[in-house]
């Protein structure tokens, strides 16, 4: 009798673990389906491979623990938004760290007119300004320009129409241009 109960318990445990495995398999499927696009987007936002790996890990960890292991309704939308948010917060904290540990006088010397066409400088400046954009504009720029998704896909992910995404992107680019222009004038 006791033996039977033990074997029943074992079978029960096995089936429970099996269903738990099955229920989280979608995390791996999502990784397989969206991994490449996600890595490309993170690389463009962060520009550092270790940061990309950290942000990627953080994104999937969030996905696995979403509402106690529940599967989100739109996985792609969730992953892209979470990755973009993680990357931008990493950029912000990096910028704050840089400001703390560098001498402001030294910074002025570095930022000269010769830097204007330096690709590294341009990228850094743009990354910095993208992280300062309002959330709705930033999301569109990261998804459209850095993840290279179509306006229809961007609209679907953010829950807006493609036309609205187009307008937001236009506004974001204008704002970025104004900020870049202001910086040049300051110099």
């Amino acid at each position: 009798m006791v033996g039977k109960a033990v074997s029943c318990g074992l079978i029960w445990d096995f089936t429970v673990s099996e269903t738990a495995d099955q229920s989280q398999q979608w995390v791996l499927s999502a990784m397989q389906r969206n991994g490449q696009e996600l890595v490309n987007m993170l690389w463009r936002i962060l520009g550092n491979e270790q940061d990309v790996c950290d942000a990627y890990q953080n994104t999937f960890l969030r996905l696995a623990h979403y509402e106690g292991g529940q599967k989100p309704e739109h996985i792609k939308a969730y992953i892209f938004r979470a990755a973009s948010n993680v990357a931008v917060s990493m950029l912000r904290s990096k910028r704050a760290e840089k400001r703390l540990f560098t001498d402001p006088a030294a910074g002025k010397e570095v930022s000269s007119a010769a830097n204007e066409l330096d690709s590294k400088y341009l990228q850094e400046a743009l990354r910095c300004y993208i992280s300062q954009l309002p959330e709705h504009l930033r999301n569109v720029v990261t998804l459209r320009d850095l993840a290279e998704l179509s306006y229809a896909q961007v609209g679907r992910i953010l829950g807006i129409s493609p036309a609205t995404a187009r307008v937001y992107r236009c506004k974001a680019i204008q704002l970025l241009a104004v900020w870049m222009n202001k910086e040049n004038e300051r110099k």
Partner: protein
């Protein structure tokens, strides 16, 4: 059914409108270019817009190491629960390398496909041209012979011969 058709038409018209407006008041339009040439403020605006676009394209063109996806997958899988880490899919993901999309893979054949299509089009046009000129030649020849018969044997007999 009707509403989907109406939506389709509406979408088409919006796309046409967007193209038409873009060609007339886009940055490439002549009158816009003329204005920019004479307006220092607009020159500054266009320069800064160009700078943003340049920075975006530089960001897009920077390549990363080929194994970045593999490393990112391995790191992310490492923090998932044990059962997922041991799954066969996880093992596959740990060694996954980026693969070009189907469109990108087909891009190298684009030129040869275009050449073949152009050749086929030329052949078709030639064929159509040859057949139509053959038909023309035949009808013109018939007319000439009919006229010859009409002038030598009479109109009625010529009609009878050529109507048969």
């Amino acid at each position: 059914m009707k509403t989907t058709e109406a939506n389709k038409k509406c979408r088409q018209i919006r796309a046409w409108l967007y193209k038409a407006i873009n060609s007339r008041i886009g940055l490439g339009a002549d009158w816009v270019q003329n204005h920019i040439a004479n307006c220092p403020r607009c020159q500054r605006r266009v320069t800064s817009l160009g700078k943003v676009n340049l920075a975006l394209s530089v960001m897009k063109s920077q390549p990363h190491n080929l194994d970045l996806l593999m490393r990112a997958n391995a790191q992310a899988i490492g923090v998932l629960k044990h059962s997922l880490r041991q799954a066969p899919k996880a093992r596959k993901l740990r060694t996954l390398l980026p693969e070009p999309k189907l469109l990108e893979r087909c891009r190298k054949y684009k030129r040869s496909v275009a050449n073949v299509a152009a050749c086929i089009a030329i052949l078709l046009l030639m064929k159509i041209g040859i057949f139509s000129s053959m038909d023309k030649l035949q009808t013109e020849g018939q007319k000439v012979i009919k006229q010859y018969y009409a002038s030598h044997v009479g109109q009625e007999l010529a009609d009878e011969i050529f109507s048969a």
